[in-house]
Structures are given as C-alpha cells and as structure tokens.
C-alpha cells in the first residue's frame, strides 16, 4: 500500500482536497487513484492465462491465440501451464465431476489476484450436456467467475470480447478495496470430494443431515 506521507512529484495539494473519491481519513492520499490506474493499466495488459483446455472451447481458445486472432495484441499470449505463474483461468469446456477437484486445486494454486473466465455454455451453466450425470452445471458452483461467455463454442471474437470485458473490470478495481490486500482475502475453495457422487465439502454437514434415514 502506498504510504500516505509520500507525495508523487507534481501532485498538487488542490487536487488532494477536491477529489471527492478520497475518504476523509485519506484526504492527503490522493495519488492512490493514480497508482490504481498505473497498477490496473499494467495488469490488464499482461494477463497470463493458464494453458488449460478442457473440451471443444479449448480449440477455439487455441485459435484465438493463433495468427488470425492473435492474443498477443492484448499482451495476454503468454500461456503458462503452471498455475503458479498464471493469473487467469479460462475454463474452456465442459466441467465434469471427475475433473472438478483438479480445477479447484489449480485455482487454489494460482496466486492472487486471479480471475476466472467461464468460456462457453458448458462452463457457464452446464451447456448442452447439463443433464449428464457426470457434468457440473457451471463452474461458478465452485469458483468465483468474473466473465461468462455463452456460446457453443464461442467464436474467437466472442472470447476476445470476454477479455475486453475483463479488462474493463480490472480497470474499475481499486487497490484499497481488492480482496487480496484485505485481511483474510485469500479465499481458498475446498476441493470437492468424489464419493458416491461429487461432494461439495462446504455442504457436507447438510448432506449428512439430509441423507440420514
């Protein structure tokens, strides 16, 4: 966090007093908004997505990274296979019950700030395979999704539209309010368990209660 006492050269006192966005107790801390801008500007143009394909949508994701759509224009082309080096998870395809523990584990391994794009109908809400017995109806049952892109599969342009939307979202974030600088902001999702069926461990008490004959 920026120190309240250090002033960037060139910031005038008039600005400090007149900026209505600054709360009273941080009145002389105006450059924090400027820092937000720089911080977000850098962040939004150098997302490192995780090289992580699930199903059909992954093919369109690869096409997005290829010559015609060229993800590098966004500065997002550096796909990292390791979750520890990635800050964006593109859930590109059908999330199955067998796969969801791994997805959640990967998410937990990603450093914050981390973002999730649900690409395609399947990741958004189950998609055409929603009724299947091994299909999770939407990754948002487990992970906080930032952008949903419906379509089966979304065109590369649609995926890029999602990127633009995510950039917009990042732009609006402020250092003061983002969760990962707050105490207890590290929200680790418990990895679901595979028992007789997929078990969301956050609901285990409820399950035990309800199934008791």
């Amino acid at each position: 966090m920026a120190d309240a006492e250090t002033n960037l050269p060139g910031t005038s006192a008039v600005e400090i007093k007149n900026d209505p966005r600054v709360p009273a107790e941080l009145n002389n801390n105006v450059f924090i908004t400027t820092l937000d801008k720089i911080y977000n500007w850098g962040r939004k143009r150098s997302m490192w997505p995780m090289l992580f394909g699930l199903a059909c949508c992954a093919i369109e994701m690869i096409c997005t990274a290829a010559a015609r759509y060229d993800l590098a224009r966004f500065g997002w082309e550096l796909m990292r296979p390791s979750p520890r080096q990635a800050d964006l998870m593109i859930v590109s395809g059908t999330v199955t019950k067998k796969m969801v523990p791994q997805i959640v584990r990967l998410y937990n391994q990603m450093p914050q700030p981390r973002y999730v794009i649900a690409m395609g109908a399947c990741a958004t809400g189950g998609g055409p395979f929603k009724e299947g017995y091994n299909v999770v109806s939407g990754i948002d049952k487990f992970l906080p999704v930032d952008v949903y892109i419906p379509g089966c599969p979304p065109r590369p342009e649609a995926l890029m539209h999602g990127f633009v939307k995510l950039q917009e979202k990042i732009e609006k974030q402020s250092l003061r309010t983002v969760s990962w600088y707050q105490p207890g902001g590290d929200d680790v999702v418990p990895v679901p368990m595979l028992g007789p069926d997929m078990v969301d461990l956050r609901r285990s008490a409820e399950i035990a209660e309800k199934t008791r004959a």
Binding site: D70, G127, P128, Y148, I149, P150, R155, H161
Partner: protein, 248 residues
C-alpha cells in the same frame, strides 16, 4: 544421405520465408491497412500469403449470413406483432431443450391463442445448433449474429433471455439475413397471391352456386361447383394463416 543439418536449414528457410512474407504482404497493403477507422473486414482471400490478423475490438469481421449464435424472435414491424405463434416446434426440436414456451390462453374460453405469453431461452444451455430457426414454419425465430453477449455478474438473470430480450424487429433480421429475408418476402407474396386466387375462386363458386340455386337445376352445376368449393379452403391451412392475420 544428405549433409547433416541440411534438413534443419531447409526448415529454417521456410520460417525465414514466412517471416519475410509477412512484411512483403504489409508493403503490398500499405496505406490500406494503416487505416485507423474500424473497417468491416471480409473473409480473407486464400490467395494471400499467410493470414491477416483481425484486430478485433477495433474491427469486426463480417459474419456470413448462415452464421448462428443465440436465437432471437422476430417482430413484425408493420403490424407490431411478434411472429411467433407458440406452436412449440422450436421447443421440440431443441436438442438440449433450452427453450421454454408458455402459450397464451384466452381468459374467457381457455382456448390457446397463437402467441407466446412467455418465451425463455437459456443461453447457458443453448448449443447454437440452429434447429429452431431451421424448422420454424413461421420464420419467427432466427439465429443472431451478435456474439458479444457476456455476463459479468449474474448469469441467472443476464444469460437467461426472456421474451423482451429475445424480441428483435424484422428490420434487424432483414439486415443480417438478406437472402433469407428475400425468400420470406417472396413466400409472403406467393401466399398472398394464392389466397387472392382462392378468394376469387370462392367468389366465382359462390356466384355459380347462387345462380344454380336460383335456376333450380341441381344435377349439372352441382358437380361442377363441388371441386371449386373443395379447393377453396386448401390454400389456407389453419396454422399458416395465423401469422399473417393475428387472431385478435
């Protein structure tokens, strides 16, 4: 056995050629490509080397007419009525069953009225197959070209499209599906001509019947008029008439 490494050099030659060609192509299109204004981009001619990048948020590729994304409903701008008659065919042919239609009922007679009361499409289930548009007998549902539908907050409210969200004027449909629209207009014209012919035939038949009744000769003209009266209702199938003249 060729010289060791010649294969690699040959391969590197290919990559070098690609590298140079990208710039050669740039020189070819200098001035044309440097335009800052967004330009509608047509499909690339396969005669060009390599591939031209579509700078997406700035420029959009023109979608081919057949392109399908999420369906929408067509509203007739002339009569200001929706074309949908809630016949339910789209809901039946939908493979993932993502269309929900609530049929309107006449409050008095409890008979169905050919218009949907509610129409929902769950885009988080829709598989963009286009069957609904293909099998709709009334040209009331079409596949949209707009792929820029993302939700940032709540998919349950934003990505389940209701009737208001789905309804588009037919001018929009005509804009993105010009050939389909032309076919529709032609069909409409043919239908009207048919109806007109049928009405005329009926009028003639009625006149004849009246004349026959007046003359009081039952044998000859009666057999003659029979086919005419029979043909009269056939060009007007009960369902097909509904969209042109709404029941209200």
């Amino acid at each position: 056995m060729s010289l060791l490494g010649s294969g690699i050099l040959k391969g590197l030659g290919v990559t070098l050629k690609h590298f140079i060609q990208t710039y050669a192509e740039d020189f070819k299109y200098i001035g044309k490509k440097a335009g800052i204004e967004p330009r509608p981009l047509r499909r690339q001619n396969p005669g060009n080397h390599g591939m031209v990048t579509i700078e997406y948020p700035k420029e959009h590729m023109v979608m081919p007419e057949n392109f399908r994304y999420i369906p929408f409903l067509v509203k007739d701008t002339v009569t200001n009525e929706d074309k949908c008659t809630s016949c339910g065919i789209c809901a039946k042919v939908c493979p993932p069953q993502c269309i929900w239609i609530l049929r309107t009922e006449d409050p008095m007679t409890k008979r169905p009225v050919p218009a949907p009361k509610e129409f929902h499409i769950d885009t988080s289930v829709c598989m963009n197959c286009g069957f609904c548009a293909e099998f709709c007998p009334f040209d009331a549902i079409k596949m949209d070209h707009n792929y820029e539908i993302t939700s940032m907050s709540n998919r349950k409210t934003e990505l389940i499209f209701d009737k208001d969200r789905l309804m588009m004027p037919d001018t929009y449909h005509a804009g993105i599906h010009p050939a389909d629209w032309a076919r529709e207009l032609e069909d409409k014209k043919a239908e009207e001509a048919k109806k007109k012919a049928a009405a005329e035939a009926k009028a003639v038949a009625d006149a004849k019947k009246a004349a026959a009744a007046a003359a009081g000769t039952p044998a000859g003209p009666a057999t003659k008029t029979a086919p005419a009266t029979k043909t009269a209702p056939t060009p007007k199938p009960p369902a097909a008439a509904a969209p042109a003249e709404p029941a209200q």
